[in-house]
Symmetry: C2
Subunit: 270 residues, 2 copies
């Protein structure tokens, strides 16, 4: 359990936060001390410092500890720092209106897909997802899109460090099959997750680029296979790729091949 980061006490304090984050419930000092194999008094000192700064709170009734509001507050500062999130917001709303399916906005972080925003379908069968959630990249539409535009070395790192776990019978677990898929994604400009992480879940995902042309994010629409097919699927592909292009424009990306103007898609929005 011991990671030998530079400053021991700071590393231990952050380990306490990680422990509380993982637990999702209040923990007693004793419990935390046991998990970290430290003396109660040591943990108490660390926690009390974290508490002073609002990063940990202590329940008035049980006396146990949980993550503090300050983490939410600072986390929101990080969230507001993502330009793509602000720019994408109205487009995500529009996409939900157009298709009636759950929309996700994600980035790649630490070799995984991190969900940074969503708008949920009102339809009865919904996808279970949470902003802040992580999923493996190789078996999600957004993950495959993001991987497709990485360098081969970066893809290799993800695959070797994270593996290719099988979730359903459709999950791609062979490197060869995945590389073919990435080539297809780059050629067509979008990805489809066809029940690769969960039975009966189909997604359409497209890349979002910033002004440097780098793929920084991905957007997707997810729904049950019984809806995500035929014309509705075609429409979803159209809408998602178009929306991704619009968001990219908003980020300052200018397509090299100055093809069909994306600017007229702004008309009537504001």
């Amino acid at each position: 359990m011991e990671s030998e980061s530079k400053i021991q006490s700071v590393a231990r304090a952050l380990f306490i936060l990680d422990t509380l984050a993982e637990a999702r419930v209040e923990l007693a000092l004793n419990e935390i001390a046991t998990r970290l194999s430290l003396a109660k008094s040591t943990v108490h000192g660390l926690i009390s410092t974290l508490k002073d700064f609002g990063y940990i709170e202590q329940s008035t009734f049980t006396g146990k500890y949980k993550l503090g509001i300050r983490l939410f507050e600072v986390g929101q500062i990080v969230a507001h720092g993502w330009e793509v999130r602000a720019i994408a917001a109205p487009y995500i709303n529009k996409l939900l209106e157009e298709l009636g399916e759950t929309v996700h906005l994600v980035v790649l972080d630490r070799l995984e897909v991190l969900y940074i925003d969503k708008r949920e379908s009102v339809q009865s069968l919904r996808i279970v997802s949470q902003v802040g959630m992580r999923l493996p990249a190789h078996c999600t539409g957004v993950g495959k899109v993001l991987m497709a535009y990485l360098s081969p070395e970066q893809r290799t790192e993800i695959i070797s460090r994270k593996g290719l776990a099988q979730f359903t019978r459709n999950t791609l677990t062979e490197v060869k099959a995945l590389e073919d898929e990435f080539a297809r994604i780059r050629a067509q400009g979008f990805a489809i997750d066809n029940e690769e992480i969960m039975e009966s879940l189909r997604c359409v995902a497209a890349p979002i680029r910033d002004q440097s042309g780098e793929v920084v994010s991905a957007i997707s629409v997810s729904g049950p296979v019984f809806r995500m097919k035929d014309e509705h699927l075609e429409k979803a592909i159209q809408c998602v790729t178009k929306t991704a292009e619009e968001i990219s424009s908003g980020l300052g990306y200018r397509s090299k091949e100055r093809s069909r103007s994306t600017s007229d898609s702004f008309s009537g929005r504001f």
Copy 2:
């Protein structure tokens, strides 16, 4: 600048996070070291530990430091821990549909109002607000609601520690006037912010209670005075108080005076 919390190095590390949070931009190591009056090498050790855990990131280009994604991730865990946020979500949507004005959900934290969720009006004139934002309690609709249901001692603490800053000519800055206002709020069950924090901004706010009957949160609708008047204002009051009651019900609150049933308001929603 020195707060003498138990564990020096941890306190310093958290101070670095606070500094980055306040700055909102990337900072150079030197800059941070200067602000905290510490040696560069000391700060470097602390930062490098924070970096290992994802709480700080280093820009690939500038080499400078900024808050890390992990803060967003952990912050979302805190957010998902708030039962009221999950339960209120569909009602907030409904309220926006009904009134077309910006809706906010807030809690009281560290003597201030903290915005934990919002749904934004699509109308051109919008209220500037951010989830994660803090505002003083005495001059906002939601803040006055939350204060109204505190104990007199708690109210006194807020007033003495935070003061009663004047933002507009309508801001209540006299204790007597505020206490009258709190009594009125308790009597009528809602609060109105009549341009007390910002010119031309009017809000309607109502309290949300949990199963113990304690007021744990508040909800509000905000709009420009030229819309928030007459029948529209009346309707807003109706909708906001009704919605607050519905959310309270969802949290397990059962009104003592079993008056008009709040349960039928669920009909047709699911």
